[in-house]
């Protein structure tokens, strides 16, 4: 078994997804099946073959650094779940102590 239920739970925590136990029971065997299938790539003799991350071969593309129109603060905050004093309002990010 390439992936265990505990590993799936760990990866879900790292991915910030609060999976329920029922979902874990359902997802873990499916992921195990998928990983077993995709592991076929390991059969390929690829010694010395460079990896491709991207097909165009373009690197470090920059456009000219010219000021242009951008969103106003009101537009930028318009879709925020919570706003305070022209800022995104978020839940606390540090522990109590």
């Amino acid at each position: 078994m390439p992936i265990t239920r505990d590993e799936v739970a760990h990866l879900a925590r790292l991915s910030r997804i609060a999976l329920s136990d029922a979902e874990l029971d359902h997802l873990a065997p499916q992921l195990d099946q998928i990983i077993t299938a995709v592991a076929q790539v390991q059969e390929v003799a690829a010694e010395g073959i460079p990896p491709t991350s991207h097909a165009t071969g373009l690197t470090n593309v920059y456009r000219d650094d010219e000021p242009g129109p951008c969103l106003t603060p009101a537009e930028a905050l318009d879709q925020a779940p919570a706003v305070e004093q022209q800022r995104f309002k978020v839940p606390r990010i540090l522990g109590e102590d």
Binding site: R16, Q30, L31, V38, V41, V44, A46, A55, P91, I93
Partner: protein, 498 residues
């Protein structure tokens, strides 16, 4: 009417953009409760756009070829003033503050945006069953899937709710829905069409492209939406290949066509292979030189894709953090940001998106990276080399677009590996970043459902796709005596078609 015919009638002032738009809105009102192609119908803004085009035409101002022609837009493209959900609860009610480059280009061309079409959540799926807002239906048989992820777009065009639509193709999400709905769909060369304002799934693969009921229609939209965009750093700074001219020429005499050996065999429906073989013979009879070409690494394309795409998605979808836009769950003052994030993502994402995020996190984690993601990237190189070798011998490659015709809704919904096989033929071109099209080539004998012929061409040789597809379309339509879509029986009311 085709989009090209509509454009001509508009130009001759036989019909106004307002009339054309109303006719399509009426068609949507009449059939979309059954097809469910649209998540949002933008009737008011569409009629405003149409009135503006009519005013310009009345004043004799110069207009682009598609001015006044309606188009349906996959809900992955940012549209200012219209909702953009990506088929996900996490973006329910989100109104983007800006337009995607392609949205802007469609508006500038005077195309009328009818609304936003349904899709598998974040473009992950082959059936629209992964949409948080219900499944779209195949106009050939309402119990069958319309393909995915751009299944709302393919269903809308096949149901005559829109003459044209745009979608995105990451592993086949334009060509597979086009094939199973009996219409034309193109994945342009990666970088040939802008990704700016397209909600990202797998950035090295995502490619916007057109749907149409004819090859020429797809070419007209392809030309209007494509071209260099400084806002997309992977956009190719080169002229758009002459796709419209190629679709009009439709001449394959002397072209070298390679049949890919590896895209056939076990798992391929006999009726699909029969129509494919006939199409190849037909192209040969039109003067093409047909040979068989082997691409030995294509059998590893599917596993490589299901490592690369989830890896990129696990990174891209980290942006849905409940902080700046979109859904926020559980922010009651007792929970910290991480807890709110995890609860929001739990409730906001569907099962397939969670599967892929976790799969990607696994493939990228230290200890597994070299064995999975790294290896998949090397396989990607080998697939590109297979294509390079093949295109040294032939001008285009052909295969079926999908191994089977449309399957029944629910049949593969909870079997991810079975669902993934729908993209078996389309994935190689995504990994290589080259261009490919699906064009209808007949109905399978077993089920009477449409079969797609896939044509693949080297990067930035998109015009070859249209040359071959248009030649096949002309010859096949001549043989059938009428367009294939005339055989679609899923919806009544031939007469009320726009």
């Amino acid at each position: 009417m085709t989009a090209a015919e509509l454009a001509a009638a508009l130009e001759r002032k036989e019909v106004s953009a307002t009339e054309v738009t109303r006719a399509h809105l009426d068609r949507i009102a009449a059939v979309d409760d059954r097809v469910h192609a649209f998540l949002h119908v933008a009737a008011d803004s569409a009629l405003e756009q149409a009135a503006a085009v009519d005013a310009k035409r009345h004043n004799g101002e110069p207009l682009s070829p598609l001015a006044g022609v309606p188009v349906a837009v996959k809900d992955v493209f940012a549209t200012k003033g219209l909702p953009t959900t990506c088929g996900s609860r996490i973006l329910e009610g989100w109104h983007p503050p800006y337009d995607a480059t392609i949205t802007t280009r469609l508006k500038q061309a005077g195309a009328i945006i009818l609304g936003k079409t349904n899709m598998d959540e974040f473009a992950m799926g082959s059936s629209t069953e992964n949409s948080a807002y219900g499944t779209s239906r195949n106009p050939w048989d309402l119990d069958k899937i319309p393909g995915g992820s751009s299944g709302g777009s393919s269903a809308a065009v096949a149901a005559y709710e829109a003459p044209l639509a745009i979608g995105t193709d990451t592993g086949g999400s334009i060509r597979q829905p086009a094939a199973v709905c009996g219409i034309v769909g193109t994945k342009p060369t990666y970088g040939g069409s802008s990704r700016y304002g397209v909600v990202a799934f797998a950035s090295s693969l995502d490619t916007p492209g057109p749907f149409g009921r004819t090859v020429l229609d797809a070419a007209l939209l392809h030309e209007a939406m494509s071209g260099h965009d400084p806002c997309d750093s992977t956009s190719i700074d080169a002229p758009v290949p002459p796709v419209v001219a190629a679709a009009r020429e439709a001449d394959v005499s002397g072209m070298r066509i390679g049949v890919v050996t590896e895209l056939s065999g076990e798992g391929y429906q006999p009726g699909v292979m029969a129509r494919f073989a006939e199409s190849v013979e037909l192209l040969e009879s039109l003067g093409a030189k047909v040979t068989e070409v082997s691409c030995p690494h294509f059998r590893y394309a599917l596993p490589a894709y299901y490592l690369i795409a989830p890896s990129e998605c696990s990174s891209n979808l980290a942006r849905f953090d409940a902080m700046r836009y979109g859904l926020r769950v559980g922010d009651d003052g007792t929970r910290d940001a991480e807890e709110v994030m995890a609860l929001t993502r739990e409730q906001g994402f569907g099962a397939e998106v969670k599967r892929r995020i976790i799969l990607g996190a696994y493939a990228l984690s230290s200890g597994y990276y070299d064995a999975y993601y790294g290896k998949a990237q090397q396989v990607r190189t080998l697939i590109i080399r297979d294509f390079d070798a093949a295109f040294g011998q032939v001008d285009v490659l052909v295969s079926p677009s999908t191994p089977t015709t449309a399957f029944r809704i629910g049949e593969r919904a909870d079997d991810p590996m079975a669902m993934y096989l729908a993209d078996l033929c389309t994935i190689p071109s995504d990994l290589a970043g080259n261009a490919a099209i699906s064009v209808p080539c007949g109905l399978a004998d077993e089920d009477g459902l449409p079969v797609g012929l896939q044509v693949m061409a080297p990067a930035m040789a998109d015009d070859r796709l249209y040359r071959v597809a248009a030649a096949a379309e002309a010859a096949l339509t001549g043989r059938w005596g009428r367009p294939l879509l005339a055989e679609a029986k899923g919806l009544p009311g031939e007469g009320d078609r726009a």
